[in-house]
Symmetry: D2
Amino acid sequence: VNLDGILPPVATPFTSSGEIDLAALSDNAARLMRTGLRGLVVLGSNGEAPFVDRDELARVTSTARGAVPADRLLIVGTGAPSTRQTLLATRAAAAEGADAVLVLTPSVFRSQMTADALVPHYRAIADDSPVPVLLYNFPAATGVTLPVGAVEQLSAHPNIVGVKESSGDVAVVADLVSRTPEKFSVVVGAAASLYASLVLGADGGVVAVANVIPELCVRLHTLVRAGNHGDALALQRAITPLARAVTTDYGVAGLKAAMDIAGYRGGVPRMPLRPASDDVRKKIAALYESVMTAA
Amino acid sequence: VNLDGILPPVATPFTSSGEIDLAALSDNAARLMRTGLRGLVVLGSNGEAPFVDRDELARVTSTARGAVPADRLLIVGTGAPSTRQTLLATRAAAAEGADAVLVLTPSVFRSQMTADALVPHYRAIADDSPVPVLLYNFPAATGVTLPVGAVEQLSAHPNIVGVKESSGDVAVVADLVSRTPEKFSVVVGAAASLYASLVLGADGGVVAVANVIPELCVRLHTLVRAGNHGDALALQRAITPLARAVTTDYGVAGLKAAMDIAGYRGGVPRMPLRPASDDVRKKIAALYESVMTAA
Amino acid sequence: VNLDGILPPVATPFTSSGEIDLAALSDNAARLMRTGLRGLVVLGSNGEAPFVDRDELARVTSTARGAVPADRLLIVGTGAPSTRQTLLATRAAAAEGADAVLVLTPSVFRSQMTADALVPHYRAIADDSPVPVLLYNFPAATGVTLPVGAVEQLSAHPNIVGVKESSGDVAVVADLVSRTPEKFSVVVGAAASLYASLVLGADGGVVAVANVIPELCVRLHTLVRAGNHGDALALQRAITPLARAVTTDYGVAGLKAAMDIAGYRGGVPRMPLRPASDDVRKKIAALYESVMTAA
Amino acid sequence: VNLDGILPPVATPFTSSGEIDLAALSDNAARLMRTGLRGLVVLGSNGEAPFVDRDELARVTSTARGAVPADRLLIVGTGAPSTRQTLLATRAAAAEGADAVLVLTPSVFRSQMTADALVPHYRAIADDSPVPVLLYNFPAATGVTLPVGAVEQLSAHPNIVGVKESSGDVAVVADLVSRTPEKFSVVVGAAASLYASLVLGADGGVVAVANVIPELCVRLHTLVRAGNHGDALALQRAITPLARAVTTDYGVAGLKAAMDIAGYRGGVPRMPLRPASDDVRKKIAALYESVMTAA
């Protein structure tokens, strides 16, 4: 699985009655695929995955597959509270055409989610999964940390092909790169650290802001690969404020508002999440204008 | 809903192949109902609720109903990541005979789970639920706090009848008692604070250790109601070490091991949780002996 | 050292030029000693101890001693970052007439402040101190926890005579009472848990709000000792909102504002702390009126 | 103040009786000054500053000044709990020849250490200080965060010339660089992020491991300035494990043990810190061998 590039963790649109809006998803996916993105990730954290039931996951995967050409990647988030639920979701995603699955660390009984529990969990999934597995560490969201040593151990499994690291700590990214095999992919989930992570050896990025400004995220990746550090750093600085607004600052509701502003079909999240307020929409619109002007 | 008493949040037994063991559940429930417990809570945190799918929830509820007489309470945990999933689980529980539902605060996007999101979430559920709703605050597990002010506000809803408070902070318990109507129930989820909470006005307790030593937990409640503070405090001190072992110290695996030791059918949790080690089983057995001797 | 009662951790008044106002301190102490308080604690956290240099500590102690009769207790906070500094402060306090010293856990390199470091620290101080030593655990302020097991171990030292527990967790208070010798004192530092702690076996309380409403705090203690639980609990509820305002909510500045309102000499804290705003003063005045009316 | 380079936050050696060992300090300083280091920082966190009294600070400063040539920098840590104490320490450091002072955020009443308190604190110090002031943000140690916005505001003060950022978050470093004037220095305190921070625009580093392997730290800085990213990144990876061992993993005791191993005079920290165990010394020796071989 070649992850050298940028993939957006796509938002899941809903109809006004709260059903999944497959038409809007298909539109967004098709438009994103007209840029230089490496592929799509559906049902990551930004896709409100925990709010989406297993039968809905199958429909989302199948719809996305229809929009992602065979030479790009369709990755599906299938992490669930238990190993058993994760296995079932993984099989469903593979059956509908996923190229790989992205498995967030389980976090329900988080004080017990040490390497002793996480390593057997990931092995059980990788043994069973019909498609390659990507590990996913996002401590700020889950309260659980997948230690670098555990990733090192798991990277020896033939069906575990990479890790998405969203801690934002570039020293961890550097550690992961140096302690895993060459062919094992390290992608970063924190857009504010994208430039630094790529410089430190990450393959690519799965960053929420790539739902809004995919071309600029791709350009940043291209600049780093070309060794153009000055322009890459300037672009990183231009992107960071919007990247933060659609994640840390305003969450999924902010991301969806930003997509509306950029001409994608965002809409509102499922409850208990609240829609972005008018005030937040204005702030995001200003940040979007600002990055489009600067870049 | 009269919650003046003790209810165990019952563990969910599984067969060796990982299916729900309804026979074991039924046995445990029947035996528990031969004590002075006020009723049962199924699919709380200790019931590994997030690992249990909605169709399984229906079977667990129906089985438990078969064992709980009409004059005792069957409460079902139905909290889920989204409002929509919680509504569906609540309807399923009510259809299978639940007397009330216990709804843990959602916690997926926890930084956004403020009162602004939680109050409309609970209102939507209470408006729709065929049975009374109990709020459930457990910050150590969820990373989310349901503020006392939000409980006060929600206590005005005719279908919201109480709160389970598991922060362990008795000042919060005292606040809840004084800021909600007389008929609104406050039950405590932290066994180590059970005596203090009852003295401060809590109605009862939903405590994991009541799966193991139900008679002693009931006796503690009875002693407080009788004004026998000295004996109640001594019993609290005897119970606390085991209560901690089956929650904070060793989690659900420890609770299930303690149930095995006490003659109930515990078994092992679903993965990614690990079974209790032999060493932990020995420690728990010693604590069990100790409390049975002391009391 | 008999700690059966209430002691205020007295605020340290400053002149407008930022020097210690010994006259104001003396006035406050004399007035407090006309109530039923068991004594005074100077240079606790609420006394801005870390802002007060060692030569100032000597003057504060000597001034307070002048106001505290021989049959009441003068306790001086002498905890400092290093063991050496704590020893020097302890000797200074003893030389000026302290009956005992209160030693907050050191917290500078807090990740290393485990029992392995804390136990030898306290032993070194107790071995050297001319007066009895009280341990002091206040995790919310220091980020360091003195484990119950360490207190148990230290309670065997002939010159360590008690502990002030300010975690607010009454289960910890109960543990401390049951795991230390009868003559070892347990006092509680969290006013919101005062009633519950006394019921669970604590000797007394060292609570900030006793700088403002000493008579009511003493009455609460007396009611519990008389077995009058109903009135005690009602009084606890009346006191709690003001108690929180002068600690958690508005800190030392809030405490000093409340003292001004109650006719004591509070004034403003040393920088970098800010004085209470007018808005905060109004809120505190309302809470003070409310508790004086209710009680 | 030109901070383009590497400065070690030097450890403070003590004699066996716990006094400051000025001879050892002088030896270390002289030897460090024979490398390409930009200067020295005395009495930073790694210098056990909170354990060092004001009269000792004067002697440490004066001794270090004797070893640091006029064309290198001597920076003294003077942050103290109160503004007043910080002013006194700052004047003492300036009187003994400090080129600048490094002022850690106060942290005693940490919940109140917001920008509203920190900005006036730093202004008061900068107004009074005879020498330039560097801000210092180290959230993991203090529990307090100096927000980027506050640094931006303070960077307009003529006597505030830079910031040491030790959060380890390179996105914050990048923000600081882009939101402060060109002549305002940004130095990084987290060695694991040194390479990434320099790439993102930091001037230099004040990193504990530069007490042990100063030449390698200087070489890393030189490689980045020369645009040799490949070698710089490889060197960063070689340095990181030792850098972590002497900070996060084993603290000041570990740093002093590493100095002993490298031929400097480390010794043991003041109590309550514990000396490094033999086991830790062996681990550190192995890491030191490893980085010396690799580099």
